[in-house]
């Protein structure tokens, strides 16, 4: 039972982590909590489902297309709802409210287009499971874990080693100095939104497969938990988002298994509050030091 819960928790946590990196990357660069991120995750899952059911595409083409289109949606959100505010040097809270507006808009758009009821997500990859003595791992769980792991490692490499990754870090650390290096800061922000939305789509589709259902409100709680994961690990810190996601996923399934399933959401936020009280910067976050 314990191992089973841990495995379920890690699977769920790796999906939270994929969503959390989107929050953390945008925050790192713009110091903005992008509250539309949960709705983007939901939109990606719905789009993939529609491509499969309405257009009859196979799972993989539908998956890829939905990643690209939702990634572009991320760019459109930045261009339409955030860039005009940045241009005017509007206070950060204006952008924050703007992202909440986008979130509500997306939820309602999906409800208008596809209805508000929960939709069945076809089991695209029915592959069975491996049975151990006391627990079992489904192949789907392994695929989710492996996909998350590969994407997370890829993202870490991208940010650490590539030219665009270095430009992203430079923009996050000092936007004005980044401009002086010849970095096109708006292009970097565009790329960051694309990347975050694309990863959120992967997460949304995998959750759809895992629970075999999607609904227009699925992004709300998942978005909040992924945000909690990003804050728990230290917002703006990439490994922190991954660690935070895993902790929240595991603690949630343990709470559901050992206490009561009604507490599964409460426990994630209880842990967040406890950690922040002891270490306000989050587990891997550091205080920003500025030398004058």
């Amino acid at each position: 039972m314990f191992f089973q819960q841990i495995i379920n928790g890690i699977t769920l946590g790796s999906i939270y982590a994929l969503t959390a990196v989107g929050y953390t990357m945008v925050f790192g660069i713009l110091e903005l909590v992008n509250f539309s991120h949960g709705s983007v995750y939901m939109f990606g899952a719905f789009l993939c489902l529609t491509l499969m059911t309405a257009l009859g595409l196979g799972f993989f083409p539908a998956f890829i297309i939905s990643i690209v289109i939702t990634g572009m949606l991320g760019i459109v959100i930045d261009r339409l709802a955030l860039l005009p505010l940045r241009r005017k040097n509007a206070p950060k809270v204006a952008s924050l409210i703007s992202t909440i507006g986008i979130s509500i808009f997306l939820q309602n758009l999906v409800m208008v287009m596809w209805g508000s009821e929960t939709k069945n997500f076809p089991l695209a990859l029915n592959l069975g499971h491996i049975q151990f003595n006391s627990f079992r791992i489904s192949y789907l769980q392994m695929i989710i874990l492996l996909t998350s792991l590969i994407l997370m490692m890829g993202l870490t490499l991208l940010v650490k080693k590539t030219k665009i990754g270095k430009a992203m870090r430079a923009t996050a650390q000092n936007m004005e100095a980044a401009k002086l290096m010849g970095i096109n800061v708006n292009l970097i922000i565009t790329f960051t939104f694309f990347l975050g939305a694309a990863l959120a789509t992967v997460a949304g589709v995998m959750v759809g497969m895992y629970y075999q259902s999607v609904d227009p409100m699925m992004g709300f709680m998942a978005g909040l938990k992924a945000f909690a994961a990003a804050v728990l690990g230290g917002i703006g810190v990439l490994p922190g988002a991954i660690l935070g996601g895993l902790i929240i996923g595991v603690s949630e399934t343990l709470a559901a298994g050992y206490i009561h399933s009604g507490y599964r959401d409460a426990i994630a936020f209880a842990i967040l509050i406890a950690v922040l009280l002891i270490k306000p910067t989050g587990l891997l976050g550091q205080k920003v030091q500025k030398k004058v």
Partner: protein, 234 residues
Amino acid sequence: MLQVCNISTYYGNIQALKEIDLEIKEGEIVTLIGSNGAGKTTLLKTISGLIKPKTGSVKFNGRQITSLDAPEIVKLGISLSPEGRQVFPKMTVGENLELGAFIRKDNKEIKESFQRIYELFPRLHERKNQVAGTLSGGEQQMLAIGRALMSKPKLLLLDEPSLGLAPMLVETIFELIKEINQQGITILLIEQNARMALMVANRGYVMETGKIVLQDDAINLLESDGVRKAYLGE
């Protein structure tokens, strides 16, 4: 090489630069002196495209650059080492320098530039794997200048390179400025340390509350009564 013509820049309703004219010829060291709040930094930011002027024009090698954004101006060969160093604190010295060469694609030549910077600043070579935020003030200043040089600029803008440094280091920095200039890079230097600046410069401009009030050869400025009283403390 650089012609600043009739530039006025505003922060909101506050006019920070009032009809500034300034010219730099190839190979020169030109210094801009003046007290805090005179608008020196604003002028450099306007030249490098971080702020847009309300009126006036900036020409570089005959080309209008007034409306260009900062990244494009860097590509044309103007590089700014900003006030307060502004290094990327969580990246290593090597990564900071690498970002300085962001606009360049010639990997072989970039390697040579690294060597040249490390020869100019041996301290940076010793610390190349150290995170920039942990460097001392002087080392950060060297890094900021080195990073600005990595873009292979034709014109280097230096904003208060001696600020907050120990007197010994100040002399080192000024020696380096002369050396950089001898390697063929034109320099516009902003300084509060007016005496040192005028000693290395060919020509100087004096700024007061957003206006240029005096301009002359550096030697003449060093000897002029007004400058001596106001900026050299005599």
